[in-house]
Structure formats: C-alpha cells, structure tokens
C-alpha cells in the first residue's frame, strides 16, 4: 500500500511529467489560455492516461510477451489512438461546448508524448498492473495540476504589465521555466 502511495506522490510532485520529464508540452502551452479549457483538458488527459497505462500493461504482458517486443510502440499507439477517439466521442456527446473549446487539442492527445511516455516508462520500470494504473493516474494528476495552475497564472499574466518583447508566448515560456525550477524543490522527496 505504501508503495502505491509513494508512486502517486512521486509522479504528481517529484517526477512531474511536465516539469521534471518535460513531456506533453504541446497541450501545456496550447490549452492553458483559459482555465475552463485547462480543467477539461486535464480531465480528458487523466482519463486517457489511466486507461492507456492499464490497457498497455495488459497488452505488453499477455499479448506481446518477450518475443514480440518490437511491436510494443506500435500496439501502444493503436490503443492510445482508440481510447482518444472514444474520449472524443464521449465529450462531443456530453459537453459540446468543451468539445468546441478543446478543438484540435482533443484528437492531439493521441500525439501527446506524455500519454505514450507513461506506458513505456511502466514497462521500463517493471511495474505490475496496479502499479501501472497508479503510475498513469499519478502522471495524469500531475499533468492536470500543472496545466491548471499554469493556466491560472496565464490568466493573471493577461492583465500584467509585461514589457512588449515578452508579451504572449514569451512570458508564458519564462513562467513555465520558473515553475519547472520551483518544482525541483521536490526532488529527493521520493526516490
């Protein structure tokens, strides 16, 4: 039990997928302009990531085995793409406004390297099924947390008196860098 808790804390804070591993920067920059969009994106990614890490564990363990390792990335991508498609249909049905707001970034979850990165890291670190699920969920929570805090900061930055050359994306990049440095304070909390 303690193990799972450590995985969760570790992926959310210490090895945060955006700030420490620098994965998934496309939606991190793209969907962080509005707070509501960021929350929606965080939830969609959390759903996809958790499901993808569980499904890819099962596929890697029982379908591929040791002799079909070379199919790993390919099959993971197929699974992730279908889960994203499913999520897209679900959101289109349940929340058309969120669907409109997320726009192209919703199908682009497929190419979010965080979503492929987590299952591959799972394999690398020999996690079992439950650990994989926790690792995926923790990574997703970390992603959502950073995305939402970052978008809240960006909404504040809109009103700030930023020097002209730094306006827009530039100041957002600087902010992301500062967040990343700040998150280094967590390092060493969990091995």
């Amino acid at each position: 039990m303690e193990n799972y808790f450590l995985i969760l804390i570790g992926t959310v804070f210490v090895n945060n997928i955006v700030l420490a591993k620098v994965l998934g920067l496309c939606p991190f920059m793209g969907v962080s302009k509005k707070l509501e969009a960021a929350i929606g994106m965080g939830m969609a990614t959390a759903f996809v990531l958790t499901l993808a890490s569980g499904a890819s564990y099962l596929i890697n363990q029982y379908l591929l085995g040791p002799d079909l390792i070379y199919l790993r990335t390919l099959s993971f991508i197929i699974v992730i793409a279908s889960i994203v498609q499913f999520t897209e249909m679900f959101i289109h049905k349940t929340s058309p406004v969120l669907y409109q707001v997320l726009g192209i970034y919703l199908p682009l979850i497929t190419t979010n390297c965080a979503v492929l990165g987590i299952p591959l890291l799972n394999v690398q670190e020999n996690h079992n099924f439950i650990e994989s699920l926790f690792f995926g969920f923790g990574g997703a929570i970390g992603f959502a947390l950073v995305l939402i805090t970052f978008s809240a900061m960006r909404e504040r930055l809109e009103g700030a008196d930023v020097p002209l050359p730094f306006k827009g994306s530039a100041i957002a990049m600087v902010t992301a860098g500062l967040m990343s440095i700040a998150s280094m304070g967590f390092s060493g909390l969990v091995k």
Partner: protein
C-alpha cells in the same frame, strides 16, 4: 512473424469493434452548440448581423466563421454571454453595430408603390399590409425598424423615419440592471 500479424489484426479488430459501438452509442444529432448559441441570441430576426436571422448567425458562430460581436440588438450583454459560452475573449461590438440606432419605422411612399408584395415577403414581423397590385402600407406599431424591407423594393419607395420622442410617444425607459453571474439566464432588457 505470423504471431505478430495475428496480434496486430486481433488488436485492430477488437478496438475497431469498440469504436464502432461507441460511435453508435454516442451519436450526436445535429449540432447541440447551435441550439445553445441560438438560445442566447435575441430572436428578433433583424438581420443586422448580416445573416438572414438568428439561427443562421448561430450556425455561423458555432462553425467559427463569424465574430460574436455582430448582434446589435443584443448589444454587449449578448456578446459577453456568447464569449462566456464559447470560451473566447470578449470583443468590443463591431464598429457599425456599436451605435444603437435611434428608434425608427419604415414609411412607404404610397404614390410610388407599385404593389409588388416584395417587401411583404421580406418583413419578419408582418408589419406591412397590402396585396398584389394594391398599395402597401406599414403598420407603424408593429414595425421594428429592421430595414430588411429596403433592399427588395424595386422602386425605392420605402424610407426610414426616425421616431421622435414627443409627448405622445414618450414612455419610461426600461430599467437597466447590471448583469451578475446568477442573473445571466433571466431576460435582458436594456
């Protein structure tokens, strides 16, 4: 080799079946966003946004083809609610829509009217009385001053007359309430 093929085919078939089932289960009829946008627009079909009515304008907004600041009668209140619904930044009202026009009614020059009924068909509120080859006239109390009858008239016999606020037509101004978050769904009269 055969194993690899079987695994990939199996994956594709299973996932394809799941997606096919999901697409039936989560089928979306029409575009629900259009309905939501349409519900915010004032529904007076005035055509001042450049679209034939509120529904076509709602479709254009939902498709992302049109700015949200073109609705002159809705004014800033409607624009803000659209911005909120769609998650885009509020924009100031378009330059030509920004000035609320003084209240006006159409007036048909009855000497020139040839009774072609074209303006009858254009009027969204049925404020024009007349028949084919008969002189038409405006029912001033019904006219909303939308100017939609001007373009179809072949003899340019319709003019817009500003309605002065005289002793006869004066009435109390509608109360203007600041729109807070809770009151958004109530009718906006300003």
């Amino acid at each position: 080799m055969l194993n690899a093929l079987l695994v990939m085919i199996g994956l594709a078939v299973v996932l394809g079946a799941v997606l096919g089932f999901a697409s039936l289960k989560f089928r979306v009829e029409g575009n629900p966003l259009v309905e939501k946008v349409d519900a915010i627009l004032p529904q007076i079909q005035c055509g001042q946004c450049g679209y034939p009515g509120c529904k076509p304008y709602a479709e254009a907004i939902s498709a992302g083809n049109s700015a949200i600041n073109l609705c002159a009668p809705g004014g800033e209140a409607v624009m803000l609610r659209l911005a909120d619904l769609l998650g885009v930044d509020p924009q100031p009202l378009a330059a030509d829509a920004a000035l609320p026009k003084p209240k006006q009614v159409a007036l048909i020059d009855e000497q020139t009217c040839i009774g072609c009924t074209l303006c009858l068909q254009a009027c969204p509120v049925d404020a024009i009385a007349g028949a084919a080859k008969q002189m038409h006239t405006i029912i001033a109390s019904e006219c909303t001053g939308c100017e939609l009858c001007l373009p179809p008239c072949p003899v340019d016999c319709i003019t817009m007359e500003t309605v002065d606020e005289g002793l006869g037509g004066w009435k109390w101004k509608y109360p203007v309430y600041p729109i807070s978050e809770e009151e958004k769904d109530t009718e906006v009269t300003s």
